[in-house]
Every structure is written in structure tokens, then in C-alpha cells.
Subunit: 289 residues, 2 copies
Amino acid sequence: MLDYKLLQALATVVECDGFERAGDRLGLSQSAVSQRIKALEIRLGQPVLIRHPALHPTPAGQRLLNHYQQVQLLERDLRSTLPTLGEASPRLRIALNADSLSTWWADVVGDFCQSEGLLLDLVIEDQDVGLKRLRDGEVAACLCASDQPIAGARCVPLGHMVYHPFATPAYIARHFPEGPTAEAFGSAPAIVYGPHDQLQHRFLQGCGYHGGFPYHLCPSSQGFVRLASAGMGYGMMPMMQVETLVAEGRLASIAPERALFVPLYWHFWRHSGAVLERLTGVLGEVSLR
Amino acid sequence: MLDYKLLQALATVVECDGFERAGDRLGLSQSAVSQRIKALEIRLGQPVLIRHPALHPTPAGQRLLNHYQQVQLLERDLRSTLPTLGEASPRLRIALNADSLSTWWADVVGDFCQSEGLLLDLVIEDQDVGLKRLRDGEVAACLCASDQPIAGARCVPLGHMVYHPFATPAYIARHFPEGPTAEAFGSAPAIVYGPHDQLQHRFLQGCGYHGGFPYHLCPSSQGFVRLASAGMGYGMMPMMQVETLVAEGRLASIAPERALFVPLYWHFWRHSGAVLERLTGVLGEVSLR
């Protein structure tokens, strides 16, 4: 049998991003935490943590964390049938896209989390990184646009989000007076989420434009809306995030017929216990549009 | 004289987070980009990039990037006095806190960016990491809560943001029926931004509570508001972000007399050129409350 105190130390160091903070959380000295990590590494015969340049688990450490998370979820199920075991509330670690978190996510899962007393550890990742973290056992589930199957995991489609290239009417009049032309795309500042953001490129390709374009980089869903609303650029935003602003005439699409549909899939480990199954049931009732 | 093509390759690889994407941006093959990075490393006699586990510059690479950014800003000034040099629009890389980006930032700098044709590369970081990135030359400026001076940089105070522990009235009635008591804090789920988030701890300490508490982890400013609005927990949010929800009675403070004031400071490299000076002038007119 594994010594779960050691796994808990590892999980806490990674979650707190530091030995001292992990010690505070566990009520242990920093050196006691270090000793537990060392004991785990001796038992395993290899390192579980990389210290530099940033603290993160090795592949072996990640497998241990994944196992630890699954055991916690199973313990949770056990506690619900044996309430006298006492309280424990493991956080469920979920990778999801920023736009879901900024829009529908909490409305859909809020009541479920409250009634189950479930705490979430949300991680914002694009789909490639999110699925990698699921494969590596760093998260129990991943909400993303990819239906690429992961061995050992299930994949449930949740519908899709609709994106439009929104900007202020003043911005559109100034930068797109003749609509979405190649000339306008080459000079009108866009807003892009980050170097991995493919929506802007898909949109421009859909318009038949393949040249360069100026852009702001803004890795925040709400920051996107703020920059666009301040007239700084146009960007691909989910209709459900800006419905009110569009209804009030404060944002409009620069190319109304060029909506992009982004599907969303819920990936989660099979055999991770009943909570995750029930949460999947709640999400399965969503029908995004 | 340095070969700026090599520096541009380095900057583009880091910004695009990959050699292939950098090649696409620069109109070069992936191997041409690799050759430029290698040429830079031979010239320097040491590596400029670390490839694993994630692509990032070495300390020497960071100093080169800082220099490259400053040269770009100086070129920008030059171009404004010699317009026939032609167009170039370097992105200004700025680290800032998520809550500023979700609230006032774009409204304050939007007109300036438009009239100057200035593009931004925004990076969300908490204050410690943001200041480190400024010191390392990865960003030209940093907006954060720390007034810790950085050698070679100026620091301008911008006022402060006011935070309250907000939740829905139904959540407050359920979890804090007798106000902010120790018993309630020990069992009411909070919402915390991440392991480095100190606001929740400052708030609880201010209330004289030093015990453990359950919490969701949610690294998104808007996600915070969504989770709280769905009744999942209470969290420290800037008044300016939720003013409307508070006015409509959809969010309220669990401890109205326990506001926290978070000061904001603008740190930027001296001698980075006139654009940054003028942007600082615009920010200096802000008076956050």
C-alpha cells in the first residue's frame, strides 16, 4: 500500500506552488514537507518534482497525482455511503476554456456543486494543453473544442458556442467602411487571445484573407470584451458573452454572415467515481447554442 | 552592431511559443528560424532558449529580448519624426493584474492606443511575477499592487481598487446567517484566484479568523463573478467590476465594513522612449477609487 501522506504532500506542494505554502496548508514545517517528497522519491527511485525554472511534477509525479486524485474521488463516494467516516471535500480539478468560464459554466454547475458540497479547482487551458493535462493525470476532466479521444477517458459532446467578429460601430465605420475587405484586414487592429488562438486565423481564412494583420494580444476573456468596447480592435467573441452589448448597439459584427461555430466536448476519466458521473449528467443536459 | 534579424527571430519564437509558428509569422521556414537562433547562440557563446519542458528564454535570452524591445520603442519614436521610414508597429508588452484588465484598463488607454496606432501585448501576472518579468526584461511595464522599486525603472502610483467579499443574498442567508463568524468561515466555500492570491487571506485575517476554509480555485476575473453569481461561494471582488450587480441586489457583501484597498503602481523602464512616457502620462490622469 502506498503511503498517502506522501502523495498528499506532493499534491499540496504542486497546488500551492511551493513548499512553504504547502507546509502552512498541511500544518507541517517546510522541512517536513521536503522529507515527505524525498521519501516518495526514494520509494519510487526517481524524482517526482522539478524545482527549476518553475516547480512542476515529473511525468512520474504526474501519474502519482492522477492516482491520488482518483483515490480521493473514490473516497468521496465511500464517504457518501458511510457518513460517519467524517468530512472531506477534495477539489475536483478541471481544465476548461476561458470563454466557458466567463459565460455559462457556473450557471450550469452551480446548483450541483452547492448541493454536493463539491469544490472545484479550475484551470484555464486551450484544448491541446487541456487534453495533455488530462492525459498526464493533472486534471480529472477537460472541457474543450476537441473530440480527440483519450485512452481511458470518455468524451461527451455539449453543443457549441457561436463566435462573431465584434467591434464598436465607430470602429467598424472607421476601419471597415467598405466591409471586410483585404485592405481593411491588413490595417485594422484585431484582438487575439494568445499565440495558440486559432479563431482569428479561421475567421480570416474563411474570408479568403491570408495576409498579415496588426493585433493586440490579450489573454483574458473579459479583457477581450473591454478592449473591443473601448474601440481598440475587433475580436472573435462568443455571442452569449456580449448579447447585452449587441442588443444595446454598443458592439456589432464586422462580418455578420461569418459566424464560427466552436463545438465543446467534456472529457473525463472513466472509473473516477460517482461525483464525476453525476456532474457529467448535469453537463449532458446543457444544450449550448 | 548586433544582427537584429537574429533578435527578431528570438522575439518571434518566444511570442509565438514555437519555431513553426514563428516561421509562419516571419515568412521563413522552421529551419531558417532555428538557424537564426543558433547563430545568435554562437555569437553569444551560450544558449538563449530553453526548449524543455516549455519553451522560454534563458536569462541571457531575456536580456536580449529586453534590449530588442527598447530598440523597437526607440525606432518607433524615430519613425514619428521621420515618417518616410515607413510603418512599424511594435507591440508594447505589459504585465498587469487580471482585475484591472477586466475593469478600467481599456477605457483609460483605448483612445491613446488608437490615436498612436499602438498595439499591446498584455500578460496577466500577479505582482511578484510581473515585477520579476520587468526586471528580466520580458515586459516594458508592469501594473501591480507593489511599490517595490526596480533599478532602472520608474514607479508611478495610480490610486487603488476597493475589494469587498461579495456573494448572492441567498448564499449569505444560507452560509452567514449570523454574519461573518468563525464558524461560518470554517464551512462556507470561498472563491480564490490561485495559490498566490493573498486577498482572501488578508480579508480573513482582518476578521480575526486564522483557521482553514473550503474554497474553489478560479483563475479568471470574470469567472469569479460568475461563480459568485451562481451562488457557489463568496470572493473578494473589485467594487468597480460588480457595481451593476450590487445595485440590482444580485450580489452583496458578507461583511460590508471589511473593504480592502489595493493600491496600484505603474512600473516602467526609463529610457524606453516617448510612447511609454506618453502612455504613462495618460495613466497618471487616472484616479482609481
